[in-house]
């Protein structure tokens, strides 16, 4: 099985950025989220990030908070994330998991890595785990051959960017603005600078997220980053009537996929 290297190699060959789409597992229900992830892949997401709904999501704005609440109330269990990953990979897509750390800690770091790898997952994005505290995860991800995507921020020092990129594998996640998740009208002005600073420390691909919601923004980010990461904009379309939700999620993926190829309508 390939990791994320091959994805970024093929995007590079096509001289474009990768499109990464986020959806919380189990939102609005487990079955619905499987179908929605399918639409994201079919619409052109090169990679899906499957979020683990968590009771205390301190990095998330209202859209993702309330989606997580809905999923938890609908009975989401952590183990459900593995079947969703499997549904994506069997449909020919690629999946990583994005999760706050405590659910993984509670499940058992090694057990989580083992079960994720068995489901075909490629890695984990860890918004509240910094490499300083990641010893168990560094060994588990090595043992089960998973990528580990740590975050860098506009406030990170050079020293921390160096340390964080060194601990990362697959790609590095650059948070474009200081703040929580949520769609914004403008791409953070810090983003290009942060990507530039990050590249001085690593050859890993750099993905940019937080606030992207249109094809035009995707094109703008694709101009300076290796991956465009879109979350809240998908989540905002995923609730309510599911026939409509599936078609809106699909068309957003298509618009963004055109965007990362520099085609803006």
């Amino acid at each position: 099985m390939d990791r994320l290297d091959s994805l970024f190699a093929s995007c590079r060959a096509e001289r474009r950025a990768a499109l990464v789409g986020y959806l919380p597992a189990g939102y609005p229900t487990a079955a619905d989220s499987a179908a929605l992830l399918g639409e994201m892949v079919a619409g052109g997401c090169d990679l899906v990030e499957i979020g683990v709904p968590y009771s205390d999501p301190v990095m998330d704005g209202p859209t993702i908070q309330s989606a997580a609440d809905t999923a938890l109330r609908a009975g989401f269990r952590l183990r459900d994330v593995f079947s969703l990953v499997e549904s994506v990979t069997t449909a020919g897509g690629r999946a990583v998991v994005m999760t706050y750390w405590n659910p993984v800690h509670r499940y058992g770091v090694d057990a989580f890595a083992r079960d994720l790898a068995a489901a075909g997952g490629l890695g984990v994005i860890t918004p509240d785990l910094i490499p300083d505290e990641a010893e168990p995860w560094l060994s588990a991800s090595d043992a089960h051959d998973l990528d580990r995507i740590f975050l860098v921020s506009p406030s990170s020092t050079e020293q921390r960017i160096a340390m964080t990129t060194k601990a990362s594998r697959g790609f590095v996640y650059a948070t474009a603005v200081m703040g929580v998740t949520g769609a914004r009208d403008q791409v953070g002005s810090d983003a290009p600078g942060l990507v530039r600073r990050t590249r001085q420390h690593t050859d890993l691909p750099v993905g940019v997220g937080l606030g992207v919601r249109s094809g035009a923004q995707a094109a703008e980010i694709a101009g300076f980053a290796d991956a465009v990461i879109v979350g809240s904009a998908f989540v905002a379309r995923a609730g309510g009537d599911q026939e409509r939700a599936r078609s809106e999620v699909r068309s957003l993926a298509e618009e963004l996929a055109a965007g990362v190829r520099g085609q803006v309508s």
């Binding site: 609440d69 938890l72 405590n102 993984v104 921390r160 948070t175």
Partner: protein
């Protein structure tokens, strides 16, 4: 209070300035903030720079005579320290005849121990050149103390408070607003203290450049647990001398309530190296452990990461935080400071639970026997002292940290005891 002197163990008070607990205590975490397996930093990378800045500033300030003197002056002239030690003999009759000594943090300006930490962090905020302060609050005591210090130092102040708590502690909401703070009710999750902390962290991630998060307990990412503890060490440092002076010996036990754990760690710390002194933390047992409606984190929880630190936590099988219940807003919290987790595991401190009903009985008993209306949080410590006194027997000395006064709780108590107009008591 000054140095302990004299071979006979007697204490002479050398001056009226309170001790400041910022000197290294011999019980400090490792350089990344770990107390054994607990503590550390489980935070977004975006906050690390601010935590590093805070840590560096605190490390400089704690040994800077100018900082220590200014803090000492504020503790004396603004807070009113040292806080008195009060004998509670009529209350003690109900505690198996034990001698109950109350450390009167309720008499501090703003009515609780919270001001000790707030003044220290407010001084640090000014040193860092930040102009805006945010805080979370449960009972509202930390919010009131923070609003107070911000008024004193001319800082912009925003306090996050769970909506449920804004209702049960309405008086404190009004106090904060009078002091010029903006109070933002938090409606997410259980709408209590844990959610107020989530909202404060979200604000901090967004506004970290000009904003200091003035966290109100010994939880959170490094350096908060060690720094907040140091600012509260004054409680135990004073009390240890006062008890020695009053009784000629050390107490058999120290009792304190545990929400996040700040008043308890402050009371315990000066006694850590006195092996004969039992350190007993009282957690909110709510409607009883068996009902699941409680906030007894150390008694019924398991290790996990919440709000930036590894510590005991009330969580379900999947690591989702569980909802808590306590009649006391200040104890209604599913986490606890990492040093308490370490003290529990090492056995140096013990943690017990007190139900809502037991706390309210002790609340009323203190009102009627000593003429002191305690905070409902502190009433948990009082209830624990009643049991401890009976276990330890007549003449045993039990130091109780009376962490706050009960004005804010009069409404809750009046309802509990049926004292409102039209009800029969």
């Amino acid at each position: 209070m000054g140095d302990v002197s004299g071979d006979d163990g007697a204490v002479r008070t050398t001056d009226a300035a309170p001790p400041v607990g910022t000197r290294p205590s011999g019980h400090d975490p490792d350089e990344r903030g770990h107390f054994g397996p607990y503590g550390g930093r489980f935070v977004p990378e975006a906050l690390v720079a601010a935590l590093d800045e805070l840590h560096a500033e605190y490390e400089k300030a704690r040994v800077d005579p100018a900082f220590v003197d200014e803090l000492r002056g504020l503790l004396r002239d603004y807070t009113g320290r040292p806080s008195p030690l009060t004998d509670a003999p009529r209350f003690g009759e109900h505690a198996g005849g034990a001698r109950i000594l109350l450390k009167r943090e309720d008499l501090n300006h703003t009515g609780s121990h919270k001001i000790n930490n707030v003044l220290g962090q407010a001084l640090l905020t000014r040193r860092m050149g930040k102009t805006r302060v945010i805080a979370e609050t449960g009972a509202g005591q930390h919010g009131v103390a923070t609003a107070t210090a911000c008024a004193l130092f001319g800082l912009d102040c925003t306090v996050y408070m769970g909506e449920v708590d804004t209702r049960r502690q309405a008086l404190n909401v009004a106090r904060m607003r009078l002091l010029g703070a903006e109070v933002i009710p938090v409606r997410t999750g259980s709408a209590t203290l844990k959610d107020a902390i989530n909202e404060a962290l979200r604000d901090w991630v967004t506004n970290v450049a000009d904003t200091h998060y003035l966290l109100g307990t010994v939880a959170g990412p490094h350096p908060f647990p060690v720094m907040v503890r140091d600012f509260h060490r004054v409680i135990g440092l004073e009390a240890r001398e006062q008890v020695l002076e009053r009784t000629g010996r050390l107490p058999e036990a120290v009792a304190a309530c545990v929400g996040g754990g700040s008043n308890a760690i402050g009371a315990f710390h000066a006694f850590l190296d006195d092996p004969g002194v039992r350190l007993v933390g009282l957690e909110p047992g709510g409607e009883g452990l068996e009902t699941g409606r409680h906030g007894a984190t150390l008694t019924a929880g398991s290790p996990g990461a919440l709000h930036g630190a590894m510590s005991y936590l009330l969580q379900d099988e999947d690591g989702q935080t569980q909802e808590t219940h306590s009649i006391s807003a200040g104890l209604d919290y599913p986490g606890v400071g990492p040093e308490h987790s370490w003290l529990k595991d090492t056995g140096r401190a013990e943690y017990r639970t007190v139900t809502d009903a037991e706390a309210m009985d002790a609340f009323q008993l203190l009102c009627r026997t000593e003429g002191i209306i305690p905070a409902i949080e502190s009433a948990h410590a009082l209830a624990g002292a009643l049991t401890l006194g009976r276990e330890l027997g007549e003449g045993a000395v039990v130091l109780v940290n009376l962490s706050g006064r009960g004005d804010k709780d009069v409404d809750t108590a009046a309802r509990w005891f049926g004292l409102l107009p039209g009800e029969d008591a």
